[in-house]
Amino acid sequence: MLPILAELTGNLHVGLAALGAALGVGFIGMKASEAVGRNPGAATPILVQAILSTAFAEGIVFFAIYLVAK
């Protein structure tokens, strides 16, 4: 197992970052819809929070893309 891991090359971190960001965006969407379901009146503030957190979660992938080795 360890030799296989040691021989891993390529830009694995972008995939991992994308995975994490996708999970993060999914959680944000889930919780935001739950929150709107509980309190529809607060839809606009929740939207703002959700969009902001989504932006931060997505941003990680862009930072990962910067570290891609050619």
Binding site: T44, V48, I51, L52, T54, A55, E58, G59, F62
Partner: protein
């Protein structure tokens, strides 16, 4: 919120929603939209530095993706210009689409507002619906005072990005051009030099928009806070603590200020990369699906993804506008937030 999808504003709405009419009138009188022209100029210069090396790179290696740099249509240098010596003039097909969409928007706004009626119909009704929906939507997010001041930028950016995104989805944009034939069948499946190309699939364009926003963000922040208040907003302690804790909090918030500056500096990068990444990936998806379908089903496989891309185009325009609006709201002094 229920005014979001309302049609046919009455005469009373006019006086109440003065900035909307101002916005449409401003779009009507091009002479008065010096700022709009400035934005357009910034967009153009952003795309003007379209890197030729990247374009060469893409054609050299025959990469299985859309070309990174758009093909240049005009590539000359004007010599002996005063002050800057040599002025390179580069026009690529992304820029041409930008101008076409800009012209289309200006002309349609002009035509719609040629004869302003109290009870609007047709094109005037459509544009008033668009602008009014945007206005009330933004008002709910960034508050009454701020929306009056900044609406022109956010509305322009939203309408412009949306128009660009949907224009790039018209069949033929990005799919007609010169390419590399498949070595086995001889069919050209991969276009390396499209005649037309979606501008938001070009990082120059999105980066220019993000930098334009960054410039106005700094201007608005300085106008609202003043230079001292701006620095206090970044480094000053928030909340009310007293005594020794206050000293501790001051130190903590100075450190937080540096973190905040880093995150602010990354905003134009993440803003531009988000839009570029989404549109570029969408075009790649469409191309891959068309190739996957082969000569017989190449038209069928991309169809579901076309609908996805129409949605993505809307969502990304929305996200760009919302993020820029929220970033502007966050730097405003506390009492300016308007809604709490």
């Amino acid at each position: 919120m229920d005014r979001l999808f309302g049609f046919a504003p009455s005469a009373t709405v006019y006086s109440e929603m003065n900035p909307i009419l101002t916005y449409l009138r401003a779009a009507q009188r091009i002479g008065k939209t010096g700022l709009l022209a400035l934005c357009a100029l910034l967009f153009m210069t952003g795309a003007a530095w379209a890197e030729t090396p990247a374009a060469e790179h893409a054609t050299e290696h025959h990469e299985e993706a859309l070309p990174q740099g758009a093909p240049l249509l005009v590539d000359t240098v004007i010599h002996n210009v005063p002050l800057i010596h040599d002025l390179p003039i580069k026009v690529n097909n992304s820029m041409v689409i930008t101008w076409v969409v800009m012209l289309a928007l200006i002309i349609s706004a002009q035509v719609a507002m040629r004869k302003v009626k109290d009870v609007p119909d047709g094109a005037q009704n459509f544009w008033e619906w668009v602008v009014e929906s945007l206005y009330s939507f933004l008002e709910g997010i960034i508050g009454k005072q701020l929306v009056k001041k900044t609406f022109w930028f956010f509305a322009t950016v939203f309408i412009f990005i949306l128009a660009l995104n949907w224009f790039s989805l018209i069949p033929g944009v990005g799919t007609i051009g010169w390419g590399i034939p498949d070595p086995y069948s001889g069919v050209v499946t991969h276009i390396t030099r499209p005649i037309l190309r979606g501008p938001n699939a070009d990082l120059n364009m999105t980066m220019a928009m993000a930098l334009t926003f960054f410039f106005f963000w700094i201007v608005w922040a300085l106008q609202a806070n003043g230079p001292g208040g701006f620095i206090m907003h970044l480094f000053g302690p928030k909340g009310d603590t007293k005594g020794f804790m206050k000293v501790l909090m001051v130190i903590v918030f100075i450190c937080v200020g540096f973190l905040e500056i880093v995150s602010i500096l990354f905003r134009p990068i993440s803003l531009s990369f988000r839009l570029y990444g989404n549109i570029f990936a969408g075009e790649n998806t469409l191309e891959t699906m068309a190739t996957l379908g082969g000569p017989w089903f190449g038209w069928l496989l991309p169809l579901p993804f076309y609908f996805l891309e129409i949605l993505v185009g809307l969502v990304q325009a929305m996200v760009f506008m919302l993020l820029t609006a929220v970033f502007t709201l966050l730097i405003m002094p506390e009492e300016g937030h308007g809604h709490h």
